[in-house]
């Protein structure tokens, strides 16, 4: 009975996801190959929009800015967030709670509040531009890194660290040889999360970017009045496929690690 219900529910879930999420994306992909500006009639297959996409310097600039921003902010948030997570983890219970609360607030806070606040803050110190957007993205990305690293730290036993010191390692060696490898999974997922959050962001970027630069999301927003060009269907299709590839690889790698483990566990029995 329960099993049947479970099966039915999961069926409904998959159908809903299919209709609500993947069907629109499928339409988008089809339209990106449509040899017609119309959104309803099929004019034959073409790669024209892709050619135009790569020739469009405005889009290419925005794409470049977006990727650079995502990479830069993800790397820097990892560099700040990982030591931060270790520090918070080592705090007393009270300090830990307080800092995790501080970490959670920026994530739950409405983007518009963060965006406007950062903008008001930045205009006092630096010209709005790539630098200010980067700072803003780092700000909202750090919590994601901390939150994905923290569970690894919590399952790691303090004895492991102490054992390295006991066996003659200094704190630095111990960190790079033993702690970091064990946190690698958490760091990687934190990095990807930060990367996608940065790619995704519109509101905060919009408020902190100033006049000179555009990311994909702000550029597309700017074009809405003129109507969305089919080049953008092509661009969206490419982004979707790239994300799909990254996810698949990620899944495959971590899945293989899991399988290895269970194999070994079985072997041990």
């Amino acid at each position: 009975m329960v099993r049947k219900l479970k099966k039915a529910l999961s069926g409904i879930y998959v159908t809903l996801i299919g209709i609500l999420l993947y069907a629109p994306i499928l339409v988008l992909i089809i339209l990106s190959f449509n040899d017609s500006r119309s959104r309803v009639t099929w004019g034959g297959f073409t790669l024209d929009w892709y050619a135009r996409l790569f020739a469009n310097s405005q889009i290419m600039d925005a794409l470049w800015t977006t990727v650079l921003l995502a990479l830069g902010s993800a790397v820097i948030s990892v560099l700040i967030g990982v030591p931060g997570a270790i520090g918070i983890h080592a705090m007393s219970r009270r300090g830990y709670r307080a800092f995790m609360l501080l970490t959670n607030i920026p994530m739950l806070n409405a983007d518009i509040v963060t965006g406007i606040a950062l903008m008001l803050w930045f205009v006092h110190f630096l010209p709005l531009g790539f630098g200010s957007v980067l700072l803003a993205h780092i700000t909202f990305n750090i919590p994601y890194v901390i939150l994905s690293v923290m569970p690894r730290l919590q399952t790691m036993n303090i004895s492991v660290y102490e054992a390295t010191r006991d066996l003659g390692a200094g704190p630095v060696y111990s960190f790079f040889k033993v702690l970091l490898p064990q946190m690698a999974g958490g760091i990687l997922s934190g990095f990807f999360m930060a990367f996608t959050m940065s790619m995704d962001d519109f509101v905060i970027t919009y408020f902190t970017k100033g006049a000179g630069i555009n990311t994909l999301s702000t550029m597309i927003y700017g074009q809405i009045r003129k109507g969305i060009k089919p080049e953008l269907y092509a661009l969206s299709t490419l982004i979707f496929i790239i994300v799909l590839i990254i996810l698949t690889v990620f899944q495959f790698v971590s899945g293989r690690r899991e399988r290895n483990k269970t194999y070994k566990e079985r072997y041990n029995e």
Binding site: N157, S159, V160, E162, A163, T164, R165, D166, L167, G168, A169, G170, Y173, V178, P181, Q182, K261, K264, E265, Y267, N268
Partner: protein
Amino acid sequence: MSDVILQLDSISKKFDGKDILKDFNLELHRNEFVTLLGPSGCGKSTTLRIIGGFVKPDSGRVLFDGTDITNLPPEKRNVNTVFQKYSLFPHMTVAENIAFGLKLKKKSSKYIADKIDYALKLVNMEGYGGRNPESLSGGQQQRVAIARAIVNEPEILLLDEPLGALDLKLRHDMQRELIKIKKEVGITFLYVTHDQEEALMMSDRILVMNKGIIQQEGSSKSIYDEPQNAFVADFIGESNIIDGIMVKDLLVKIQGVDIPCVDTGFGTNTPVDVVIRPEDLEVVSKEEGFLKGTVTSVIFKGAYYEIKVLSDGYEWMIQSVNPAPVGEVVGLTVLPDNIQIMHKPASDDEEVVRDE
């Protein structure tokens, strides 16, 4: 070369304002197997961690071979630790785990390979070098942890409840093996446990700890046979501990009955704690016994019967090879030799007894 390898000199340590160790002294001799035995939270691990260098004492000194090492970080101390569990590096093989310390010391790869072979053989794990720690059982993991510590040739090996996470059968096997390993490597072992049986079986010397203070130290036999206070008597083995009054030398009054004993020097009419081991009490007919009571329960424990006798509000525990009839009134006797008299702790307990 003095025989004392390590000395803790009036160490004190507070956590969150609470005294964990107070004016704690300890001496370890070369090639000795010493056990710190005490209930949970009494400061055993803290003591070990101070020696290992993971905790700094608030005051006092740690002397290694006469040199003050109180402020030396763990990696600079010629001491290695076997942790309770989960201390192997999960992303390295067993062999890589064992090689960790040696690589840091820049030993040649030939030397390291030989050492790994030697250590794996020592802990009975030959052929496991390529395995992943996660694929090993708890007992095997602890063997690897011991091997990983031993290859560094420490002068003292610290073991913090290394068998605590293992099941009983495995624990017994590992205890025997630890003794064997200790004999083979010939270094000082400082072992922490709250399992009295384990301590009694393995140690040359036991330090019974409670609340950051050493209650008694001595060989297994002396601690078991002559506990010096009620805490030790209660903690080591099972004991009957009852209030008594030392009437005069060689005579103690328990439950209103004068009973001969062998202790002297307590003065006259002094309140004392009296300890009698369950195996030293004998059930006899009610006319023959010093004490009389009703048998309340008899449980067969395999090698003996555990008999409870209620007498004057105190339930005596007796271990005997013969059962006794439940509900009957019986007598209890004890040889003078087997009565252990102890001073009352200097506290308000004393007042309570006098008031009665």
